[in-house]
Point group: C2
């Protein structure tokens, strides 16, 4: 059985994951609560993300994902990648490589095109969506550029501090 | 005090209100449950919508909003408008005209640009968002083209049938 792929992500009420310039500072006021991230990360042994997300996280300074192998979806070379980071040309290639490295639970970090590409091949096994009570009105979407809709099953929903609602979805056929 | 403006709308998990071609047939499987729409409509005495939404609803056949005055945000003429339908050039003009017609509670039907334009002038008093457990991946957004983010306050959240989660938001300063 291939590794399980989990999208764990925050979005605005209008389904955006960043401002138009890619900014995520709007998340700051909501960060003080416990959304179960540490416990989630303890179960993760592989990470996949899109090129834009990677370049942004790389620009933050210290690489935050030491220890877990990371696949970056990109057709371009990664200059000076952080340790454990590799390029992958497709979702399938990323999953296969992480599986070869022993991963059983993969965090799909995003962004929207990467999440969409995984939905397109039916490779999102869980979506944990944290809706931040805020309208951005512009900026990249949670899911972008998919070829077909995907029906989901709401497995759980939960109210966190700050009015943040978590919805946990599984594929409808699961 | 100006009339209260309420957005009551369904969106996909990824914040889209229609497919890329404007279709809403994906809502059909979820329509059999009671989302409180009839009771909501009983309290509505004015309606505002964008031009694209109007043209689409007009194309459905019988005009569904008999009785309540409807403002359509548009700079173009409305050919053969349904009874009670008028054109308005701006959110403020629409609100003022509906107020003059005695409206106290206005339903902002959408689409995303119309909702965004109302957020831009601080004229969304309540947002009732029904998240349908489905990813569209493409199509118009719940809120589009706003000039600034708006923080909200989660007033209520509720699980409906079919795994539909309702979140009811008020302006953060309310």
């Amino acid at each position: 059985m291939r590794p399980r792929v989990i999208v764990y992500i925050a979005a605005s009420v209008d389904g955006r994951i960043a401002t138009a310039d890619g900014g995520i500072e709007w998340l700051k006021p909501y960060e003080s609560a416990d959304y179960g991230f540490d416990s989630f990360m303890k179960g993760i042994d592989g990470i996949v993300m899109g090129r834009t997300t990677y370049d942004q996280v790389r620009g933050f300074g210290a690489w935050p994902y030491d220890g877990a192998p990371v696949m970056v979806l990109t057709s371009r070379r990664l200059a000076d990648p952080a340790e454990g980071v590799e390029a992958a040309k497709s979702p399938r290639a990323a999953i296969a490589r992480l599986e070869a490295l022993g991963a059983r639970r993969i965090w799909n970090v995003g962004g929207g095109k990467t999440i969409g590409a995984f939905f397109d091949i039916g490779a999102v096994d869980e979506l944990r969506l944290f809706t931040i009570p805020l309208v951005l009105g512009a900026g990249p979407m949670l899911v972008a550029g998919t070829r077909r809709p995907a029906t989901l099953r709401l497995a759980e929903h939960k109210l966190h501090a700050h009015g943040v609602v978590e919805q946990r979805f599984a594929p409808d056929d699961a």
